[in-house]
Amino acid sequence: MEGLQTTWGSLIAVDLFMGGLGAGCFVAAAMIALTTGERFKPTVRFGAWASAIAIAVGTLMLLTEVGKPFRALVLFKSFSNLQSWMAIGAWLVFGAILFNGLFALFWTESVLKWVGAGVKFLENRRQVFRTILAVLGIFLNLGVAFYTGMLLGVLPFRPFWNTWWLPALFTASALYTGVGLVTAYATLRERGEGAARLRKFLGVSVITLILIEGVVLGYYLHKMLQGSADATRAAQLLISGAASPVFWIIVVGLGLAVPLLVCLSKVSGPVKRARVVLPLLAITSCLLGGLALRFVVLWAGVPASLSSPSLVQILTGIRFVP
């Protein structure tokens, strides 16, 4: 599309989205595991597997976008410069795939029984291992969510990306989409004692995260509109430019407004029916919105028009830079 950044395309957007989604799923699953023990085992297991699979799929997308994917697979060579956020992110993601996969295995009974038959130690102390993995994993996955924003946020000559508000926005979106997916699963799957309380708690969490993302997104755009001419131009691509239909309809409308209305109606109680349709509608909207958010942010990453103001100043004779 005219005037938008397209060098990094759809596969990078999917990678950033899936990385965040996976991280959010883990945080949701780990929090449920830490607070309720084994009571909601299917939800924790779903969140754990979803987190590992989402991050792995996102990483595969990233690999197919680079020029030399097989070379990139040799991590210790291809990501050796740990001053680079891409290298830091690669190791975080690699660690998260293994870690989240291990956490998922600890919540999969058939695997535990099979392993436990040989290693009694693991079988006897599985709750201790689950707790340790959950606590450590929350920090690791928050790191993954934060990295998806820092990857773009550290690039100084892309004014729309070069702000701390971008990692804040992507982290908020990661938690919202991840918690949203686990909430939808719990709403559809969990029954019995305590399930209603869990659904209500998760519903309130999703509402809170929607509001947080909305506030961060609003303040981010406000800062950009108040910033340099380049940052303003980039923000206007979202607000009224080429990316505005996707931004307003999918990111704001479907991604934030629809799930907010669904959650409010569910939590406050006016809607008792539509037990399956509404959660499915809400999570589909939420995920589409989260994915579209990565697309529009990537599109708005246009370069600063005066990357070297002194070059233009010298050539147009406006002012010599000493």
């Binding site: 020029g67 891409m86 010298i314």
Partner: protein, 181 residues
């Protein structure tokens, strides 16, 4: 020591000979795809900058390549450590055998220097090291009919341009380029 370029825009006539000589010497592919209107990578590019308004409008042609920055942003962000700054002359070079083609350097460079051919890896001006290490000039300098490009150490270039109102290009990455108008 830091090597760099001096560009005399008052001499440049925008003939693109430097671009062609650079592509020819460094065997840069002319096209990546057969799509009409597309071009292959250009390690040196002649850009026309318009200024003023009619009837006092003017066009200035400026030939730019990698700035071989003092603090190159591309080196800092490359995850594979495939871009390095040579200690002996400050030239910024890319290693095609290490590059994974992630484009991160492209986004970090304020001048849009890193480019990608059909191999998928990053390529850019290497100061014609295969020529300059033998005491020859880079292909662009050697080919320019108007002698609008000069290569050398920044001290040599500063001495050479003392009388020419040349100024060093400013920027956070400290580009090693002098320009006169």
């Amino acid at each position: 020591m830091q090597k760099g370029f001096y560009i005399a825009t008052e001499r440049c006539m925008g003939c693109h000979t430097c671009e062609a000589a650079c592509k020819n010497w460094n065997d840069v592919e002319p096209k990546v795809t057969d799509k009409p209107g597309t071009q292959g990578p250009k390690w040196r590019r002649v850009t026309n900058i318009e200024s003023g308004a009619y009837p006092d409008a003017q066009i200035i042609s400026v030939s730019l390549a990698c700035m071989h920055c003092g603090e190159p942003a591309c080196v800092a962000v490359c995850p594979a450590g495939a871009i390095s700054k040579r200690a002996e002359d400050g030239i910024v070079v890319g290693d095609q055998n290490k590059c994974i083609g992630c484009h991160y350097c492209f986004f970090a460079c304020p001048f849009g220097v890193p480019q990608y051919g059909s191999s998928g890896t990053m390529q850019k001006c290497n100061y014609c090291l295969d020529r300059t290490e033998k005491g020859q000039e880079p292909a662009c300098v050697n080919s320019c009919p108007a002698q609008a490009i000069k290569a050398g150490t920044m001290d040599e270039l500063a001495r050479y341009t003392q009388e020419r109102m040349a100024r060093k290009l400013a920027g956070s990455t400290q580009p090693s380029v002098l320009i006169s108008r």
